[in-house]
Symmetry: C2
Subunit: 183 residues, 2 copies
């Protein structure tokens, strides 16, 4: 069975710190929670965005990381695998997800920013829509990943977490996880 | 069969125009695209947020609307139906969605803002998590709605749309829809 954890990278195009900070943060957190291994972004480098994702990992575990590229071509040129471009103009994901899922290569998922260059449509192996309505790259990515992994990450336990949540019917239960060191 | 279109209302708490404009816009668009009938919000009234949702409806169709309440208690007090609160501390949605789906009453889905009052946990019929990891109210709502409707809205056609998209493998195909007036 293939190692799902190494299978998915998300590339977020054209991040603008002033406008997109919260949307990009939500996007990367959704990517992490739902099974992406790492993420790349282009646009303007944003140290506070990188720091906020790093802090989440330190507390909640896992090895998800984000890396900045000055240009999407640099992020793509050494990529050995397939490319999915999420766009409202693409083929409905429910019609194509099985084909994507059974690909044996790792997958880069490109999600757009302000203006998506026409080349992105041409270099992608699949242009895929999550509904053909306008909504959000966050919801589109989440639905795509959850369907790709067939719900596998909904109860995923991240390694090296300092805290986690005990699900509760009517309150908040956060558990601190004791680190056990062996001598 | 029950009328799904009248079944779901989303309540977004504590909107702050300066910080949350794009996140709230994405949230409401995801709500619309994935089958919510309407949305309420509290926090600070934001005419430009309301205008952007109205414009989407004018172009893309449907009757989704958003309404401001100065206080969440005003939004809830006349609600006749069940209440779901989406929170990372709640019961995993995949364990409870069948129970929610088979409720014969309409459902209000509350999604948090900066600080969620403890009362929200107590007045809700279900406190539900979409993973127990931090990610986004947008991804959480999208996954919940899509699962609730079992994918029904992924190909929904909105009434009275002026434009729609013809899904395409490698480009953009937008169709203008001719309005036919009968005399």
């Amino acid at each position: 069975m293939k190692d799902f954890q190494n299978n998915i990278v998300v590339l977020r195009l054209s991040h603008r710190p002033s406008r997109d900070k919260r949307v990009s943060t939500h996007l990367f957190l959704a990517a992490r929670a739902l099974g992406a291994y790492e993420a790349f972004y282009t646009g303007t480098k944003d140290p506070s965005l990188e720091e906020s994702i790093k802090k989440i990992n330190e507390e909640w575990g896992g090895t998800f990381k984000i890396t900045y590229f000055s240009n999407w071509k640099n992020a793509v040129k050494n990529w050995e695998g397939k490319i999915v471009h999420l766009t409202m103009y693409g083929i409905p994901f429910q019609d194509i997800i099985e084909e994507v899922r059974t690909s044996i290569e790792p997958i880069m998922i490109i999600v757009g920013g302000a203006k998506v260059p026409g080349e992105i449509y041409r270099i992608s192996d699949w242009n895929i829509s999550v509904t053909n309505q306008p909504h959000s790259e966050i919801s589109a990515l989440a639905l795509f990943l959850n369907e790709f992994y067939q719900g596998k990450y909904l109860k995923h336990e991240f390694q090296n977490a300092k805290i986690n949540i005990r699900p509760s019917k009517n309150g908040k239960q956060i558990q601190k996880i004791k680190q056990v060191f062996k001598h």
